[in-house]
C-alpha cells in the first residue's frame, strides 16, 4: 500500500508575545522536524503527553494550521501549495473528529440539520428527501438506530457517546480517505468508550478510511491500532515509529519504556509489583526553553555526558522500528 500522506520535516514554531520587561520573545517549538508516513487505509496512533505536539500535528494534517517548516504531501502534492480546486477536494477527503463533541456540534442545530447541510451544500445529494434518506443511512451506519429518531434531537439531548457518533457520521458523510481523531473517546463515558473505538475500527475495515488516532492513552491506542502503526512523540519530536505490535513488543526509546511502565495494569498484583519508573526527573521541561541536544536527556536514565546534551538524535532504524535515541541499541540490551 502506498502512502496516502507523507509528512516531511514538519516544524511548527509559535512566537509568543514579548514580556513586559522587554526580554526576547520566547518561542515554543510545538513540532520539530517531524517525519511520518500515513499508508492508505491504515490506522496510525499518535501518543504522547500533553504538550508533546500531537494535537498540533493533527491540525497541520487537516490543513488548519500551516507548519512553519517542512511539507505535507497528499497524493504527492504539497498540501499548503495546492490549487484552490485541489484544496477543496482535500478538505472533503480529510476530516477531523474532535475531543469535545459538545463543542464540535452547533447547539442550535438538530442532528438532522447538522448532517444535511454539508451534503446539500457540496451537491452530494439533491433535494430534501434525498438528504433526509442519506442522513438516516449515515446515522444508522454509526450505530444510531433507528436513524429517524435522532434527526430532530439537539446535541444536549444526546449522551457523550451518541454525540461522538454524530461527529463520526458527519466525518464520513463526505466519503473521506482519512479521519484525524483527536482524543475522540476521552469525553465519552467509560462504559461506552469501547463501542466508539470499535466503530472507528469497523469504519476503517469496511470503508477503507485511514485514521490518525491521537491520544495519551496507550491502552486504547493498542486496541484500535493493533494492526497499524504507532508514533510516539516527546516535546514536539517523533521519538519512535513503527508497527504498533513490534514497537510495543520491543520498545526502544527510553521515554517509551518509561511511559509503558507508568501505565497502570488493570490487575492489583501486577500493578503493585512493578519496577520503579526508569526516569531521572519527573517533570517535563519548559516548552519555551527546551533542553539542548536530545530534549529527553535531563530525564533519561541512559543519557551520557558529552553526547546526549549536545547532539540531537535523528530517527534511524533499529530492528523493526525507527527510533531517535543515541543509545537505542543499548536500551535493547538493558
Amino acid at each position: 500500500m502506498g502512502a496516502l500522506m507523507t509528512i516531511e520535516n514538519v516544524s511548527m514554531t509559535f512566537q509568543m508575545k514579548k514580556n513586559l520587561i522587554g526580554g526576547p520573545a520566547p518561542q515554543v517549538h510545538a513540532l520539530s522536524e517531524v517525519n511520518l508516513e500515513i499508508p492508505q487505509g491504515s490506522i496510525v496512533a499518535v501518543v504522547g503527553e500533553s504538550g508533546c505536539g500531537k494535537t498540533t500535528l493533527g491540525k497541520a494534517i487537516v490543513g488548519l494550521q500551516k507548519p512553519t517548516g517542512g511539507r505535507i504531501l497528499y497524493d504527492g502534492e504539497d498540501l499548503y501549495n495546492m490549487s484552490g480546486d485541489h484544496f477543496a477536494q482535500y478538505r472533503k477527503q480529510v476530516q477531523m473528529v474532535m475531543q469535545d463533541s459538545f463543542a464540535a456540534l452547533n447547539p442550535m442545530r438538530s442532528v438532522g440539520q447538522a448532517l444535511a447541510v454539508p451534503l446539500q451544500k457540496l451537491g452530494i445529494v439533491k433535494g430534501r428527501k434525498a438528504a433526509r434518506d442519506r442522513v438516516i443511512a449515515l446515522l444508522e451506519s454509526v450505530g444510531l438506530v433507528p436513524g429517524e429518531q435522532f434527526l430532530a434531537k439537539y446535541p444536549h439531548q444526546l449522551s457523550g457517546g451518541q454525540r461522538q457518533r454524530v461527529c463520526l457520521a458527519r466525518a464520513i458523510s463526505l466519503s473521506p480517505r482519512l479521519i484525524v481523531a483527536d482524543e475522540p473517546v476521552s469525553g465519552v463515558d467509560v462504559s461506552s468508550r469501547l463501542s466508539i473505538l470499535k466503530l472507528m475500527s469497523s469504519l476503517n475495515k469496511e470503508l477503507g478510511i485511514a485514521f490518525v488516532y491521537i491520544t495519551h492513552d496507550l491502552s486504547t491506542a493498542r486496541y484500535i491500532a493493533g494492526q497499524g502503526k504507532l508514533a510516539v512523540m516527546y516535546l514536539g519530536r517523533l521519538v519512535e515509529f513503527g508497527d504498533l505490535q513490534s514497537v510495543l513488543d520491543r520498545p526502544r526509546h527510553p521515554y517509551l519504556r518509561a511511559l509503558l511502565t507508568a501505565v497502570p495494569a488493570p490487575d492489583p498484583d501486577l500493578a503493585r509489583n512493578r519496577p520503579p519508573l526508569p526516569l531521572k526527573d519527573l517533570d517535563l521541561p519548559d516548552a519555551t526553553r527546551l533542553p539542548s541536544g536530545c530534549s529527553f536527556h535531563p530525564r533519561c536514565p541512559l543519557a551520557a555526558a558529552g553526547r546526549c546534551e549536545q547532539e540531537v538524535p535523528q530517527l534511524h532504524m533499529v530492528g523493526a522500528s525507527a527510533v531517535a535515541c543515541h543509545f537505542a541499541d543499548m536500551a535493547d540490551i538493558s
Binding site: E49, S50, S159, G160, G161, Q162, D189, V190, S191, S192, R193, L194, S195, L197, K198, H216, L218, S219, T220, R222, Y223, G226, L248, A258, L259, L260, T261, A262, V263, P264, A265, P266, D267, P268, D269, L270, A271, R272, L277, L279, L282, D283, L284
Partner: protein, 333 residues
C-alpha cells in the same frame, strides 16, 4: 471491628431540585470507610461519586438526607463555625482541577499561610512556612522555588502536588481525592500516586479516591465501592473486585477496559447508556443495560447483600425469584 471505621455513611440521599424536576444524584447510600486505608469510589460521569464526596465535607449544593458519622458526630448536622473548623482540619480534599482550586493572583506560600490562619490565628508565619516546606519536599517539590511562585508558573503536575501538600497542612485524618490526575499524563499520574500511597502509609491518613479508571484502582486501592446511577452497587476488597467481580456492572466495566497487556480480543462494551437521574428505571437501576436481567429486576430494587466485608446489590445473588425466572427462561428457550 466497629472502631476501625472512620466514617460511616448511613442512608445518604442527595437531591438536586431544578425547575420542574428532581435529580436523585445519590440514592440511599450506606458505606463505611475503613480508617487508614485507601477506598476508591468508582463510576462513570454522572454516577454521583462527586456529589457523595462533597457531602462528606457538607459542602456545595443539594438537599441531603441521612447521616454521615465521623467520630460520633453527624457531619450533616455541623453548622457555622464548627463546620468551618471541621473542614480541612479533619477532612480535606484535593480537587480535580488544581488550576482552578489555587488562587491565581496569590503566591503559593501565601495560600499556605492563609489556609493555616483561617484555622489558627496564633501560629507564626515562620512556623507555617516551615511546615509547608516539609510538606512540599515530601511531594517532591523544591519549597524555595514553589512557595515564591504563582500558580501559572507551575506545571499541571506540580500544581496538583501543591494541592496535595496543601490538603495535608492541618494534619487531617481523611483526605478526599477527586479524580486528582485526570488532566495529567501517565508518568506524572504514576508519580503522584506513589506519593499519595507513601502519605497513606506513613501518616496513616485515610484516603477516599474518586476515579473512573480501573487501572489506578488496581494500583492504589485497598477497598472499592462501585457506583452506578447514584447507588453503590458493589463494595469489596480490591483483589476480590478484580478477581471475582459480582455485580454485572462491575464486570462490564472491568471487561470493557482495553489493556496494554493483552490483545484485547475478548473485551466488550456495556450496551446502552447510563440512565437519566431525574427519571430512573424501575427496579434495579442497571436492568436496562444488564446482560443477565430477569423480569424480577425491573420490578424490585435489589437489597444490599452483605457477605463478609463485601456487599453487592443484585438479584442474581440470592433472590429466590431470580433463580426461578432464570429456569423458566431456560425452559422457554
Amino acid at each position: 471491628m466497629e472502631d476501625s471505621y472512620i466514617l460511616k455513611i448511613a442512608n445518604l440521599n442527595v437531591d438536586y431540585v431544578t425547575r420542574g424536576s428532581v435529580v436523585h444524584a445519590v440514592s440511599d447510600v450506606s458505606l463505611s470507610i475503613p480508617a487508614g486505608k485507601l477506598t476508591a469510589i468508582v463510576g462513570e460521569s454522572g454516577c454521583g461519586k462527586s456529589t457523595l464526596t462533597t457531602a462528606l465535607l457538607h459542602y456545595g449544593m443539594g438537599q441531603r438526607r441521612g447521616a454521615i458519622l465521623y467520630q460520633d458526630k453527624d457531619i450533616l448536622k455541623l453548622k457555622g463555625e464548627e463546620l468551618r473548623k471541621f473542614r480541612w482540619s479533619e477532612i480535606s480534599m484535593v480537587f480535580q482541577a488544581s488550576q482552578s482550586a489555587l488562587n491565581p493572583v496569590m503566591r503559593v506560600g501565601e495560600q499556605f499561610i492563609e489556609t493555616y490562619r483561617e484555622h489558627d490565628r496564633k501560629v507564626s508565619k515562620k512556623a507555617i512556612v516551615e511546615k509547608a516546606s516539609q510538606l512540599l519536599e515530601y511531594v517532591r517539590l523544591d519549597p524555595k522555588r514553589v512557595l515564591q511562585s504563582y500558580p501559572h508558573e507551575l506545571s499541571g503536575g506540580m500544581k496538583q502536588r501543591v494541592m496535595i501538600a496543601l490538603s495535608l497542612l492541618l494534619d487531617p485524618k481523611v483526605v478526599i481525592l477527586d479524580e486528582p490526575t485526570t488532566a495529567l499524563d501517565v508518568i506524572t499520574q504514576d508519580a503522584i500516586f506513589d506519593i499519595l500511597l507513601k502519605i497513606n502509609r506513613e501518616f496513616n491518613t485515610t484516603m477516599i479516591l474518586v476515579t473512573h479508571d480501573f487501572g489506578i484502582v488496581a494500583k492504589v486501592a485497598d477497598y472499592v465501592a462501585v457506583m452506578y446511577a447514584g447507588q453503590v452497587v458493589e463494595y469489596n476488597d480490591v483483589r476480590r473486585v478484580f478477581k471475582r467481580p459480582q455485580h454485572p456492572y462491575t464486570k462490564g466495566l472491568i471487561e470493557s477496559t482495553p489493556s496494554l497487556l493483552s490483545n484485547n480480543e475478548e473485551i466488550s462494551e456495556i450496551d446502552g447508556t447510563p440512565p437519566d437521574l431525574r427519571n430512573k428505571p424501575q427496579g434495579c437501576v442497571f436492568h436496562p443495560r444488564c446482560p443477565i436481567a430477569r423480569p424480577i429486576c425491573s420490578r424490585e430494587i435489589p437489597a444490599a447483600r452483605i457477605e463478609g466485608d463485601g456487599m453487592v446489590a443484585c438479584h442474581a445473588y440470592g433472590h429466590p425469584l431470580y433463580a426461578q425466572e432464570s429456569n423458566i427462561e431456560k425452559v422457554g428457550g
